[in-house]
Symmetry: C2
Subunit: 229 residues, 2 copies
């Protein structure tokens, strides 16, 4: 702080809701805390913002420390600032979400000391969370429900090659309702951002589905006039 700002001590933190799609389920990354307060509780990964990093940078850093991943699109969605949300003092937290492609085992790199472990947990079976993190998660889920209708964030969750049923699966999990197969396929294909591959699913004991990939080029062209999924 250089001079005149009349401030009390306060802290600003980042909390992240990291979504992943695995085993046909929607999951988020939670940590088991190693420190007070809420020692041994589950919580969203997060950390204090450093003096020399912007809010955005801080969010990327935390994601990187947890997963080893960089260059992931993260979106800020709300800042939570109740006076007593942190038992040890005034902490305002800026919440981000990101969508991650799991499946490889790249995720879950070295954890910094504030957590015992980190684990992908089905959003339908969340444990009790410390702080106001349940609330932060709820708002995050609401946010992506709205986003997924207009932005292709669902594809970030899928492997590079995927079937249309997998896409539909992701939509159904996020929106929390069943969708009509024929209508869904018509719509998702109509945007022209999926490329059909000359390749089929393998190792399944039923008719193998055609694989597709998301065409970022075409998407970038369409962007501007917002898409409606």
């Amino acid at each position: 702080m250089k001079e005149v700002l009349p401030v009390f001590n306060s802290a600003v933190s980042i909390d992240c809701v990291l979504f992943g799609f695995d085993g046909g389920e929607l999951k988020i990354l939670l940590i088991e805390r190693n420190e007070e307060p809420f020692k041994d509780w589950w919580a969203l990964p997060g950390n204090l913002i450093g003096e020399d990093e912007s809010v955005e940078q801080s969010a990327s850093r935390i994601l990187h420390e947890l997963t080893g991943l960089s260059d992931i699109y993260m979106e800020q969605y709300y800042t939570f600032g109740e006076v007593n949300r942190h038992p040890q003092g005034r902490v305002i937290t800026v919440a981000y979400y990101a969508m991650l492609r799991l499946g490889g085992d790249k995720a879950l790199k070295p954890l910094t000391s504030y957590a015992k472990k980190a684990q992908w947990i089905n959003v339908k079976e969340l444990p009790k969370l410390g702080f106001d993190h349940q609330h932060i998660f709820d708002k995050g889920l609401e946010k992506i429900k709205r986003r997924i209708k207009h932005l292709p964030i669902a594809f970030e969750l899928l492997p590079e090659k995927f079937t249309l049923t997998q896409v539909q699966n992701v939509y159904e999990l996020i929106l929390g309702k069943k969708l009509d197969k024929r209508n869904f396929r018509k719509k998702i294909l109509s945007f022209g951002v999926l490329k059909e591959l000359n390749e089929k699913q393998k190792g399944v004991s039923f008719r193998a589905a055609t694989l597709y990939k998301f065409d970022r080029r075409k998407y970038a062209k369409l962007f501007g006039k917002e898409i409606s999924f």
Copy 2:
């Protein structure tokens, strides 16, 4: 701060984009600063968050200090956290917008000392703003462009009784484009949240328009399944 939090000194502020509709134009409230940095510059009204107030409360307080108004719906839309956005130290700012009904002269109550004056300024003729406030404003305008299509925020700008042309005017100013009169009327009426009054515009030198009011009751009923204006 009670104990263990390992923080550096930082500050968190609120900045507000207050929209008003006056004289057929869309305006925002700006202050002329009385203090360094950016003394004598125009800026968005804002202030530091106090130790004992939540982020929300802080936003309401600032609005109240500026305008004397309470119970106005304010919406948080983004938190700006570049390291050097404030020349005197690290200040992260949480941005809010609100829509105000002008027209009375209730607005612009006693100003706290940090500003020389406050003034409603046409968004088409904004002066150069201090800090990163132009950027904060731009994002706020983008936000309400998207919001106005789904939420009836436009009505907050209008007097209690208004004509359909006035509503259309607000939409055109915010969206930045002309709309077809017949289609607009059909659509806005089709939601059933406007009540036609047995009353006409007065003091105009042409055919007087029918007055309407926004029916909050009906709106509340519809709410949930989000409206599309």
